[in-house]
């Protein structure tokens, strides 16, 4: 299972803050997961179009080619604006 988290404007647009997902066979990195989620259609298309989408794997900033394994925590969010 993957734990997937969405934050801020992305959480609002997608209408959820978290979900659990069985890691599909063909998905081995962040890019693959993004394609899978985008293919859901509707508001999920935003994952492909949102400006400067950020990703974290196991609470560390990640890249599109960062590998994914069962049990990972993956997060998608817009650029940070704290401070």
């Amino acid at each position: 299972m993957l734990k997937i988290l969405y934050f801020a404007s992305l959480r609002e647009t997608l209408g959820r803050g978290a979900e659990s997902l069985e890691l599909p066979g063909g998905v081995s990195d962040v890019s693959g997961l993004l394609q899978l989620l985008t293919a859901r259609g509707g508001e999920w298309g935003q994952l492909a179009t949102v400006k400067n989408l950020r990703y974290a794997v196991n609470q560390e900033m990640a890249q599109l080619d960062s590998p994914l394994r069962a049990g990972d925590e993956v997060a998608f969010f817009p650029p940070v604006t704290g401070g």
Partner: protein
């Protein structure tokens, strides 16, 4: 713990005393307080909500403090960041750095703020007369953070 994420407000004097712990080697304390403004990008702001990524936020802030300690000859650093609903003039963030000499504490304090602004998972949602909106990241914050690289 050099890093705290909390809803409660903080008192600068009390936090500085806790950071210092009476250590008589300290000659310099550089600090920064970020505050909610009643205006942003030309719109009046009546309140703000700060969202964060629990767990990752603390890790990211701790990593920034560790990097600052590696770059400069400082004794200690403290970062407090508030989350939840905040009103104009309320304190948002506090960074304090202790050291023997001022130059290194100033640099480390500014570095921590610049990295916090671009690497710590916080998001601001403002309420303005035109409605609520998520604050956009600033290019100037990216530029400020990039100064410390290479």
């Amino acid at each position: 713990m050099p890093v705290r994420v909390q809803e409660a407000d903080f008192d600068v004097s009390a936090e500085l005393a806790a950071l210092r712990q009476g250590d008589a080697r300290i000659g310099a304390l550089a600090t920064f307080v970020g505050v909610v403004r009643d205006m942003n990008d030309g719109s009046g702001v009546s309140e703000m909500t700060l969202e964060h990524y629990p767990g990752m936020t603390e890790k990211a802030l701790e990593a920034i403090v560790i990097e600052a300690k590696g770059r400069w000859n400082i004794f200690d650093a403290l970062v407090i960041h508030r989350v939840g609903r905040l009103l104009p003039t309320e304190q948002i963030v506090f960074v304090a750095v202790s050291g023997a000499h001022r130059g290194e504490t100033f640099a480390a304090c500014e570095f921590i703020m610049d990295y916090l602004k671009t690497r710590a998972p916080f998001w601001k949602r403002e309420v303005t007369a035109e409605g609520a909106r998520w604050v956009d990241a600033r290019e100037t914050d990216d530029t400020a953070a990039k100064r410390w690289q290479g």
